[in-house]
Symmetry: C2
């Protein structure tokens, strides 16, 4: 191409000027000319302009990140299984109408698929609505299940803090008509177990009840029509001070200052059983049917949590007002507390890492006859947990293995590829995790170095003498110890040695 | 709403006429009027018309299907790990341009996301192109990884035969510049191990090479421009007889009858080492550089497969011509063979369950400087495998457990909810998988029945007498044996008894 030749030609004077340490202005002028020519050339060439990246708000997980992710999942799944949950999976997209009307204002964050003729589809926004759709569709009225999968929100990502557009949720839900607060208490126990197990530092689980909120708004004189919008103001209290929330309520949302002040008295309260008892005596709240019901159940919940021995990390908090439209009873949210840790230079401020609540009406929205299936569930915000674990591992000296290979099949001399292939095949067939270098004649040193780099603990070395003797030399990488093992005993020997590793 | 009142009003005469067993025509007339009114009303009411389903070509996995799926994944993952693979994960959608130009005609099957301002996105079509994008983006030149995830194709689903629009792929790939055919042979070994392990019945792995195909087309007199389209005709040979393929080549694709006949002589050949040797002596093929290269490597591959002891299931088949644009060397495909099984009434005809090949050019398409990273990989078609496993389990008497619960905490009398909660909490904290019924006062019989239904092997029964004595009654569901265990020994006792289960 003529243009390409021109660009190459222009590169010459630039190189020369630089070599001659010419006047910087003159260099800059020639460089600018070169860049312009290159830019013009680029327009004719798709390849140059191709952006090599993942979509905004998404990321790849490389082997190291996957190792961390798998570790966290393992802790969470084993907790869910410990509590007797089955597992289900649903498609990544749903009919658009399945998601419609379930998320209030947040609906704008739903990813739609292009209309290519056929059904209108959207990527799932959470795992709760698909779960409710699943229950209604299959007429399931009683299940305890977990579901770990990716969900999608066209939100503004803050990826350093673990907020993505594609992210995992780890959900555990209990559906069915049961005696009050027993499944709800189990959900909180689960959050407690997982956060303790993952050792993420100190945490607190805030608990409230949609009915207490609604009752509180009613006795404070908030008009019915303003419940939701006032609720979303209250929800901001974990980030902004009361004065700001108050002025939003009065200024933007047109609430009377008196009503706002009455709300202010309640939402700044948090505590345990004694606070619940006090509010049950509250002259206004105790007159409200919803509030009374909510407080009664909250008392029961705390009794169960006391039996579980976890009230130390639970806070009944009247400012907790989780956003989603579908909650009907208990709501909760676990937050990590700022760590004063001398080992970490910059303590990481992470917020909510788990949340959930009771949604007794959602399944009924899908049932043709409106039959209700009461549900309560918890969702673990695993992305923030990944960030913390990744940062911690980064800071520590721990070297994380990304494979489970037990033995490298190596050769001591040239021309032993066939012998290596035969041996490794035997090991694979015996269930041993084995690798070899894909070279005909690798150097022994390179093979040993590979074990050092990847953490493979054993090397099975075939050499001419060993072949004659019917043995394999087994080398323990950590100690450099070498032993000759009869070939027919090799599998057994590797099993014994790796079970100790 | 006025309309609703009208509908209710119209329902009245219908009911009355039916009650009076009036003239059917008259009833029909009034019913029609009612239905029309309801239909009009329905237009204002989304709920009635809501379709409760998953999108076309997708499905839910309930607990039972998940148990089967997890079993198959376990076999596959353990094979991948046995071969030293790391694991990576990529987003479910990619920039649209990442997928553009990688799939030839099949591009029309790609799901695009709606343009909502921002990047143009598409759901991944396979895991290979995202893998190549990952390698180029992170400048990885050497990796052995697996990736198990869902991919998306707007194909016409035949769900009974395991063809979906959303389906899993289980991919294992080796990237890097290595000595020839060693990684390729390992991919075939992996397919062999997995299909043997899953016990899906007899299978054969067909092997060919893109270079042999291209060389064969050249020596048969196919014009360069027709290579691809003739290749896609040849690819149909596993489903239709040669005569039909021939007439497509000549009639639709304008190939000369002589060229078609020459192709016919080759593509009906299949065999092992002896066929390779013969073709290496073939006066025409041996003159073609590409074919010679391909045949030479094929010979090497068969030597390695002989060392692996798996040539019995491998067939060098000149009709194998896998569709994807990006293959450059070895290609292969595993097919299940029709089973003549007297236990099965209708033997299931399943086709390809795994496939793969070498694609040395794909990563270079993403690299700004076109740097190549040779790759070879295999993809397990797990959906068909699921179908077979599901059908087999359906046919067998085996009862599949969907939870791992070891013990049910039960009560013998009323008013023991608190004691159950305390005990189950202790068990959970000790890592025991435990459940209880979410009722205040469940009947003992119902609790035992729950164990029968779900396969829980042990029941820990708390009763008034046991509490006094500081013991728990442990019941073995299978034998109905009951023993009193001191509370402090309960965890140990459950561990011992469940390790035997």
């Amino acid at each position: 191409m003529a243009e390409e030749a021109a660009v190459r030609a222009q590169a010459e004077p630039v190189r020369r000027l630089k070599q001659d340490k010419a006047d910087p202005d003159e260099i800059a002028k020639e460089v600018a000319k070169l860049l312009e020519m290159k830019a013009q050339l680029g327009e004719n060439e798709g390849k140059q302009k191709f952006v090599l990246k993942t979509p905004k708000g998404t990321r790849d997980f490389g082997p190291k990140e996957m190792a961390i992710r798998e570790r966290a999942f393992k802790a969470i799944i084993s907790c869910f299984k410990r509590h007797g949950a089955e597992v289900i999976d649903t498609p990544v997209f749903e009919l658009k109408e399945t998601l419609t009307g379930k998320y209030g204002e947040d609906s704008k964050l739903i990813y739609d698929l292009k209309d290519q003729g056929g059904e209108l589809l959207s990527l799932r926004y959470d795992l709760t609505v698909p779960f409710a759709r699943y229950l209604a569709m299959n007429k399931v009225t009683n299940i305890k299940r977990y579901h770990i999968a990716k969900v999608y929100r066209r939100d503004n990502p803050a990826m350093t803090r673990g907020r993505y557009r594609e992210f995992y949720q780890c959900d555990f839900d209990i559906a069915g008509q049961f005696d009050p607060m027993i499944p709800d208490a189990e959900c909180l126990k689960i959050v407690h177990e997982i956060l303790s197990d993952l050792q993420l530092g100190d945490f607190i689980i805030k608990v409230n009840d949609r009915r207490i909120l609604d009752g509180m708004f009613a006795v404070c004189g908030v008009p019915d029509s303003k419940f939701r919008t006032i609720c979303s103001s209250v929800d901001k209290l974990d980030k902004v001070p009361w004065e700001e929330v108050r002025s939003e309520m009065v200024g933007e949302k047109g609430l009377s200052p008196e009503a706002a002040d009455r709300i202010g008295e309640y939402v700044q309260l948090h505590g345990g059983l004694e606070l619940i008892e006090r509010l049950l005596q509250d002259p206004k709240l105790s007159q409200n049917k919803l509030a009374k019901e909510g407080l009664g159940d909250m008392k029961l919940l705390f009794e169960y949590l006391t039996l579980f021995g976890i009230t130390g990390k639970i806070s009944f908090d009247l400012s907790l007002a989780r956003g989603l439209d579908y909650y009907t009873g208990v709501i909760f949210e676990a937050v990590l507390l700022q760590q004063e840790n001398e080992h970490m230079e910059e303590p990481v401020s992470v917020g909510s890492v788990a949340g959930g609540g009771r949604y007794d009406g959602l399944v009924g929205m899908f049932d043709p006859k409106g039959r209700k299936v009461p549900c309560v569930g918890v969702s673990i915000g695993i992305e923030r947990i990944f960030s913390i674990l990744e940062q911690r591992l980064e800071a520590s000296e721990e070297k994380i293995r990304t494979t489970e290979t037990q033995v490298l099949v190596a050769s001591a001399q040239k021309k032993l590829l066939e012998e290596r292939l035969k041996l490794i095949s035997e090991l694979w067939d015996a269930g041993i995790k084995a690798e070899m270098l894909y070279k005909k004649n690798p150097k022994l040193l390179n093979q040993l170095q590979y074990c050092e780099d990847t953490g493979i603990p054993l090397v099975a070395i075939v050499g001419e003498q060993e072949l004659k003797d019917g043995v394999v030399k087994l080398r323990i990488v950590a100690t450099r110890e070498e032993v000759n093992v009869r070939r027919e005993s090799l599998v057994e020997e590797i099993r014994i040695r790796t079970s100790q590793c």
